[in-house]
Symmetry: C2
DNA sequence: CTCTTTCTGTTGTAAAAACAACAAATGTAT
DNA sequence: ATACATTTGTTGTTTTTACAACAGAAAGAG
């Protein structure tokens, strides 16, 4: 578990807290480490959780498969990011989504109640951490709204352009890589993969963008 | 402003705080009251805010009109609910959406910074309030995820059934009213109004549901 | 009450997406 | 290197949606 303290130091939740202080807080927060193989479920729809989780290694997808087998990916979690923060409230219901490991991953769990209530021992950074979590939930909130912005577009083309142009802005360059393959991107935008591939082809032919695998380049001068 | 203290007492943010205590905190939190006429903009896309807002009277829509005029309603805010909580973080960017009053409304503003940092005067309930806001953001988070669940459905029919069945669960009855008219519901689900009306007719004819205006009734035995 | 505006359901048409099936390209394991 | 599995692009068909236009119902104003 000690191995991952340098990772924790760089996470949002422990922003502004030194490695030694993190170490001293681990036991106070009931910290545990769980390892998941690629493809394994980390959490399942319908579960009830009360821990805050931090992905310290690997990649996760928060997703849901509906009754007919349509998968939709809500979010990709990268190492250093937390998840489950929205379920720390006492009145929160069961999980609505599955969380699966898309590659071998390690997750660190922290007792939610102890995180939110002042602990008896000397956790000087307690209020700082609560505020950090609050900001993190806020940020996730804004991300969800942004994603809703993509999803609310009517056509596959618009969804693609909405997502890709946001990604270009976010990564600060018209040339960027996305963290999805085609099927995953389709699941993320909730569209059909082949139809999306087709639309990508049209956008390329119309001069809007170039791409190779998960590498994209948006082009200003389109000869549409 | 005093008029609305009983309203504030019933809000999430002031849960567990008495009317007198709320009154004494108003000045400490820079409380201000703003009145908006039906149809007026409360906030506009691109603005930067640092206040937490509580709707004390009326109804608001958080929505966005895209370049081509397609409106999408992200959320309806009812009296007693707060908004803007996700923008209290220092690193938050400009607003992505408009907020408009769908009926005459009154909004109370609180200084975001003062809410999050302990104030010099005797605000005994400060940490309680911070936690309240945290839970509120978490709840909004879960709501957004739920809405994403509707939006990720492929067809108008599935979107409708997803939304309506959730509403039935939420209101604890297969008979319920929704807070939208047809155009607003279409904007909320990001579909075409006439196509949606058509689909509603088909669902009614197939025996899935009955409706009259914004009153709906889901039927178990469908003769589809 | 009458006029006007808004809201809702219906229909036909054009456009787009889902679906299915397949081939080419790429990646992986042995 | 070969065999096998996965990913991606392409095409044709079917289904669904968006769009437009309109008529009846309901609501609101004078």
């Amino acid at each position: 578990m000690k191995t991952y303290i340098p990772v924790l130091e760089k996470t949002r939740i422990f922003a502004g807290v030194s490695e030694e202080d993190i170490f001293s807080m681990l036991s106070c927060l009931d910290a545990r480490l769980c390892i998941y193989k690629k493809g394994a479920y980390v959490l399942r729809q319908g579960e009830r959780i009360s821990d805050l989780m931090v992905l310290v290694d690997g990649t996760l997808h928060i997703q849901r498969d509906d009754y007919w087998g349509n998968r939709s990916i809500l979010e990709q979690i990268a190492a250093g990011e937390m998840f489950g923060e929205a379920y720390l409230s006492p009145e929160s219901d069961v999980l609505l989504n599955d969380v699966i490991a898309v590659e071998n991953s390690a997750v660190m769990l922290f007792n939610g109640k102890k995180l939110l209530t002042t602990c008896p021992s000397a956790c000087r950074f307690h209020s700082r951490i609560v505020q950090n979590i609050f900001f993190a939930v806020s940020e996730k909130n804004r991300k969800l709204v942004q994603k809703l912005g993509h999803m609310s577009r009517r056509s596959t083309r618009e969804k693609l352009l909405s997502y890709l142009s946001e990604e270009a802005v976010r990564q600060g360059s018209p040339r960027f890589s996305i963290p999805f393959n085609r099927q995953q991107l389709a699941d993320f935008l909730s569209v059909d993969r082949s139809a999306m591939s087709n639309e990508l082809g049209k956008l390329r032919d119309a001069g809007f963008l170039k791409f190779d695998k998960n590498y994209f380049e948006l082009v200003k001068e389109s000869r549409a």
